[in-house]
């Protein structure tokens, strides 16, 4: 490991990091209060409900976290639409030509022990999939959550079976997202070998040159064309 590869490069703006923090607190709070409700009849659920101050305050906390998540989403949307860096970051999350081919090669490499660099850009395909799954999943959670938040008015406006459907979608999608975030995002940023206890870039906003080279080669070349 050279000194140069340890050199830290700026990767995430302060606003980006604060959005992530707000999103993280919101999602964690929603997951803990949501899981408590869904698994109320297990020791885990009862523990969470007690932790959250009982059934009533669990509901209030869930709503507060929902507002927090909503604010993060609105902030993210504004930043993507109205700022250059936000827009560029968002565009870098779009699927691009060659992603499929790189993914096939990366998948093949997963089964071998040979060194392999898929030459991803600013974001790997995995990160793009994580972003879009969480983004679309969150929009579904927020829209169904808002319907449920309307309570009596929702049942008066929609047939009961439709509100029941919304509840099933909200619960099912919530658990699905939780599994997705824990087993993919949290694993890859905290528990994957070389990452523990965590990849600090979500706090510092920086990434090492070496890591950039290993995981985001084309971004590295874009930032350091002279190194080629």
């Amino acid at each position: 490991m050279t000194n140069e590869s340890n050199q830290l490069i700026h990767r995430f703006a302060v606003s980006w990091r604060l959005q992530h923090l707000s999103l993280m607190i919101g999602v964690f709070g929603l997951a803990l209060t949501g899981l408590a409700y869904r698994y109320y009849d297990t020791g885990f659920g009862r523990f969470l409900i007690n932790l959250e101050g009982g059934f009533g305050s669990r509901g209030i906390l869930h709503r507060i976290c929902g507002v927090m998540l909503g604010l993060a989403v609105v902030w993210h949307g504004f930043r993507v639409i109205f700022t250059r860096t936000g827009h560029d970051d968002f565009m870098a999350l779009m699927p691009e030509k060659g992603d499929g081919k790189r993914w096939r090669l990366a998948l093949k490499a997963k089964f071998s022990s040979e060194p392999f660099n898929a030459e991803w850009g600013r974001y790997t395909l995995g990160q793009k999939v994580q972003y879009w799954t969480v983004a679309l999943g969150t929009l579904l959670m927020i829209s169904t959550g808002l319907i449920l938040l309307m309570g009596d008015r929702a049942v008066a406006a929609l047939p009961k079976w439709m509100v029941d459907m919304v509840r099933v979608v909200h619960g099912g999608q919530g658990v699905e997202l939780m599994v997705f975030i824990v087993l993919w995002h949290l694993y890859s940023t905290h528990f994957s070998p070389g990452r523990f206890p965590m990849d600090a870039s979500w706090i510092t906003g920086k990434i090492s040159k070496g890591q950039l080279k290993d995981y985001h080669m084309r971004e590295y070349r874009r930032l350091f064309p002279e190194d080629d």
Binding site: M1, S5, N6, Y37, Y40, D41, I49, G54, F55, G56, A109, K110, F111, S112, S113, E114, P115, D152, R153, V155, A156, A157, L158, P159, K160, W161, M162, V163, D164, M165, V168, V169, G171, G172, Q173, V175, E176, V179, F180, L183, W184, Y187, S188, S192, P193, G194, S208, G210, Q211, K213, D214
Partner: protein, 357 residues
Amino acid sequence: MNTPSLYRMWITYSVLLGIVAITGIALAQGQNPDAKCLICHAKSDLSRIESDGHKHSLFVDSSAIRASVHGKWSCNDCHAAVTTIPHAPGVPRVECTRCHFAGNRMGAPESLIYDQYKESVHGLAAAAGNQKAPHCQNCHGTHEIRRLTDTLSTMSRNSVAKTCGSCHVHEFTDYRVSVHGSAVEKGNKDAPVCTNCHGEHDIRAHSDPTSKVNSANIPNTCSACHASEALMEQYGVKGVQVETYDESYHGIAVKFGQKQAANCASCHGVHDILPANDPRSRVNVANIPHTCGGCHPGANANYARGRIHVDAENKDAGIIYYIASFFKYLTIGTLAVLILNIILDLRRKLTSRKPHK
């Protein structure tokens, strides 16, 4: 000794034996401890005028006592306060607990239930001086007490409602036409009588958290029968009502002490429960907006569009079943793929680790 003198001796002995036997029977009759009581109480018109002007009969039908579970006991065994005859008016109420206590040697059934009465809503009211509060006799009867299995008992399945109804008139009126009451009247052995829901000697006020009919405990009480799928199927009650209620927002809220959340009785009624297909039922489709409206202002016909006890794991739930299944398999699939991803990542990184931070 010739034959005529033998004949005379036989006649003499027979006459003497007859005198002894008749005297014995007469003496034995004189020993009957109830006989003295019955000198007065066998008169059918014996009565007393109570302070409220009500005529209280003091007639005792000795044959009813003999046919009762207490047939072998004498008056004084229960009416122990009477020590002289004639006795002074105002004989105290019989204390059944003279014999009915755990560990008794009088042959009364061994049970701890007798003591429960003291803590019950009836026992507490009686102790507080409520003249209308029932004592043992008000429910079980007095001289004519019979076994519960005896249809003539005031506490037999077919009589309980009528007995409770002698004080709880409105409840009895509602109950006897309800799905439960009408079934019991037809001789059904499964339908609940008052005591199945309220308890027996331990009946508590519904506001008491330990009451079987307290809002927090009603789901448990109804579950005693309604959780049995076999029993429900027998009576054409479809679906898993208890499970679906437990998993509903109402059920979870009640379980965690939210008293305002609906329990079974909030929607189905209490004594007047009727099957959903009865137009008078609170859960009849036409009445659902009104029933839900009790708690949910603005409830309208949309409240009745869809199942109430939704079982997302049953195909009968339609689209809800398919959506729940979709998410179930999507989550299982996600778990499988991501765990495989972790295994592959660990294998690759631990065998050819590149230590970049």
